[in-house]
């Protein structure tokens, strides 16, 4: 049964929105859609959004989720905002390397580094 609760943890700090995930596996199409819609809503509510997405809890990520991240990145850019990805597990980072999405996203090793680069 689809979940109706939020799939995100969202905090604000010094004008930066930090987003992390409730789910360890971001694989199911319906979940991915819900997560992307939530993030896009957050972006739409902000002027020049500075967003950090942390993958610290995430063990698995599908290619459909990568597609949504691209859409999120484009939406943030269209609003003259900035996006950082951080805390990506080694194996998921390999997915970004293989797909060359390391060329598209600003990826930081830790949330602290990402926050510093957005400040």
């Amino acid at each position: 049964m689809p979940s109706t609760g939020s799939r995100l943890r969202v905090t604000e700090q010094d004008g930066i929105t930090r987003i992390s995930f409730v789910d360890r596996n971001i694989l199911d199409d319906a979940n991915i859609q819900q997560i992307a819609d939530e993030i896009l809503r957050i972006i739409d509510e902000r002027h020049e959004p500075k967003v950090l997405i942390s993958f610290e809890n995430v063990d698995h990520l599908s290619s459909a989720a990568l597609g949504r991240l691209i859409i999120i990145n484009n939406r943030i850019k269209a609003k003259n905002g900035q996006l950082r990805l951080a805390d990506i597990h080694k194996q998921i980072y390999e997915v970004f390397v293989i797909t060359k999405l390391t060329n598209l996203f600003r990826i930081c090793e830790t949330s602290d580094q990402a926050l510093a680069s957005l400040a």
Binding site: D28, D29, D59, S62, S63, A64, N74, Q91, T99, L104
Partner: protein
């Protein structure tokens, strides 16, 4: 004192035919197959690779092959032993030409929100091959030390 559980030495061979609309059953089947892999002492990297390829192949079969039509079925066949994991996934769709899928890593395609699943399956598995019609994919993960 009891030691760690011994890895399963027998091969696991099974075939599943599941309706596309039965998402929970598909998920349970996927977890069962991955459980058989884990029981044969494949390491974390191997389990990650096999899950990723299985998830991507199933998503393709459901989304593209079956057009999310709940009346269609997917067939999952697997054989898991200590040396390799062989998984075939077949849908009832018309098939496709995998060679026609554009390379998602070129500069002009990098922004495309789809088209990365097959590339990931190829990267993380030892072998993958499509049937001539393109509605069936067979993937093998071979444990590196098995040669």
């Amino acid at each position: 004192m009891t030691g760690a559980p011994q890895p399963e030495t027998r091969a696991f061979t099974e075939s599943f035919v599941i309706g596309v609309g039965r998402k929970e059953e598909i998920r349970r089947t996927l977890e069962a197959v991955l459980g058989e892999v884990a029981a044969r002492a494949y390491d974390t990297g191997a389990c990650f690779a096999i899950r990723l390829a299985l998830e991507e192949a199933l998503a393709n079969a459901i989304r593209h092959g079956s057009g999310n039509d709940p009346s269609k079925r997917v067939t999952i066949e697997c054989r898991v032993d200590r040396n390799e994991v062989v998984i075939s996934i077949e849908d009832e769709g018309p098939g496709f030409d995998p060679a026609a899928v554009p390379d998602p890593t070129t500069e002009e395609n990098l922004q495309l929100p789809s088209g990365r699943g097959i590339m990931l399956m190829r990267s993380f598995m030892t072998e993958i091959a499509f049937s001539a019609r393109g509605n069936r994919v067979r993937m093998i993960y071979r444990r590196p030390e098995a040669g």
